[in-house]
């Protein structure tokens, strides 16, 4: 039964541009996909190793800027710029991972915020590299041979590939010995150490993969909107990511994707009704309500509800 649902879902996803041709809806789906990758990346750190990073906008931005600059200034192909962006962001993740070894809880959160803050200030002030607040317009769209992936329907497939890749990586990690080590770190670190789990190694691994994935999202974003500015470091993005993961269900695989879809579609729906400030206000209130009423998130709540219904 599950197999059938999965197969159907995959079919729908693969043929989406054909039955959802409206460019506005395609845009929403593409953005949901990009945020889905971001949410999956944050979830790896927050949901599995239990470290809250509020600096993921920093990784997102590094990925976006690296990819944009390599294709704009050095005229590299997108297909080369993307892995480089991922690699550079992964390196930044390695740095954060090594920092995390000394810090836990609130202190780690503060360092991640500071990291994002410093990167943000650099992108605003280092005019020669990043063009400062004016940003980098004209980021080229990816090309696959003779075809340009500029059109939304084409870019959708690129994003779908990105989401699928990220999901598969997460699923494989989580279901393995590595995923168990992550959980051990989250649940009881001293106990994990006592049975031989090398804390250093696994925290750094989680940070590197998480950051690299966020960099992937950044690159996808840069070549979709074709404009990168210091606005990618806005704390709003981090907050949105956190809400997506927490609301969807941290520590699950489907949770972040559900959260991403919900919180990309919701603002668009709200935008038609009211202004952006009300939307952010609603986010704040929603976060508080979630912590009180659905502390584990939507996906686990649904799973628990289904279990209660079928004893």
């Amino acid at each position: 039964m599950i197999r059938l649902a999965n197969g159907l879902g995959a079919l729908l996803a693969l043929t989406l541009p054909f039955w959802l041709a409206n460019p506005y809806f395609l845009h929403v789906v593409i953005m949901a996909g990009i945020f889905g990758v971001l949410a999956l990346s944050l979830n790896l750190l927050l949901g599995y190793t239990g470290q809250l990073s509020l600096g993921h906008a920093g990784f997102f931005g590094i990925g976006a800027y690296t990819s944009a600059l390599l294709t704009l200034r050095l005229e590299w192909s997108f297909w080369l710029a993307l892995p480089c962006a991922v690699a550079l962001t992964a390196l930044a993740g390695w740095l954060i991972g090594r920092l995390a070894l000394k810090l836990r809880g609130a202190y780690f959160v503060l360092v991640t915020i500071s990291f994002a803050g410093v990167i943000s200030l650099v992108s605003v002030n280092w005019m020669e590299l990043t063009n400062g607040p004016l940003g980098l317009p004209g980021v080229p769209a990816p090309e696959l041979g003779p075809w340009s992936l500029r059109a939304k329907s084409a870019y959708y497939y690129l994003v779908l590939a990105g989401v699928t890749l990220s999901y598969v990586v997460c699923a494989r990690l989580v279901g393995s010995r590595i995923g168990r080590a992550f959980l051990a770190l989250r649940e009881n670190e001293p106990l994990a150490e006592s049975v031989g789990v090398d804390v250093t190694h696994y925290l750094v691994l989680a940070a590197v993969v998480s950051a690299g994935m966020a960099g992937l999202a950044g690159s996808l974003y840069a070549h979709y909107t074709r404009f990168v500015s210091p606005e990618v470091f806005l704390f709003t993005y981090t907050v949105t990511m956190v809400v997506m993961v927490v609301a969807g269900g941290k520590g699950t695989l489907a949770g972040p994707l559900v959260g991403a879809l919900l919180f990309t579609a919701l603002p668009e729906a709200l935008r038609l009704a009211t202004s952006w400030q009300w939307q952010m206000l609603a986010y704040g209130v929603l976060l508080v309500l979630l912590v009180f009423f659905l502390p584990r998130g939507i996906v686990p709540a649904l799973a628990a509800w289904r279990e209660r219904r079928a004893p």
Binding site: L52, L103, Y107, V111, W278
Partner: protein, 290 residues
Amino acid sequence: MEQLLQHLVNGLVLGGTYALLGIGLTLIFGLMNLVNFAHGEFYTLGAYAAFAALALAGVNFFVAVLAAIAAGAALGALCERVLLRPLRAESIDTTMLVMIGVWIAMQNGELLVWGGVAKSIPHPFPTEPLVLGPVSIAPLRVFVFVLAAGLIAASYLLIHRTKLGRAMRATFQDRDTAALMGVRIGRIHTATFAFGSGLAAAAGALLGPVFLAYPSMGDLAALKAFCVVILGGLGNLPGATLGGLLLGVAEELGAGYVSSGYRDAVGFVIIILVLLLRPSGLFARQERIG
């Protein structure tokens, strides 16, 4: 040399208010084990409260600051009672998330009420700067420093000379024993949060007229407050005071000699460096850990 002195003086004025922010947060963070990401929003609240008092009600400046403190403390107490007390058994991650939610809600609430355009807060002081030897300083800033110093002194008195303060210190040192001794932990939490938020609001009311008031002013303030807490060590009042002054001076020197664009980076960099090199704070006594 004169420039250096000028920077130092400016830094001390700024630092005094940073100390207020830091003292409030170190008490909250230290005693309640709460990562109060909404701390900056009480700062903003204070600034807007002062604006309302001065521009709209036309009261005198001193009263405006008091009004701001009252507003901050009241909202803080409410926040603690309604949102935090039910979650007291939860982990630090959960309460952190709630405070993030409050942060977002408050900031966008301010945005909706006051609009996004920065407001200039009127003050009764002459704009002609006082010249004291090689440095010149605006009378407003003198007032700010004096008031900040006064509030810091008042905080010390509260913590060390009153029954409430003693109860707070006991709870910070050993919660269970304090509870067994009859200290009402719930009340202490509410009082601590209200006190800390009131100090943050005071800082906002003091610095608001010096700069401008706008809805996102609290973000950087919050970060600087955390910076001060990290510099001084958790729950360490003299550390927070010194840390605040240090940060103010460091920022002024950084802005003056390096680049004004990177002024705010000073706080970030300090956070990163201190947490890497001396996580217990510059002024805390080193505990031996395994």
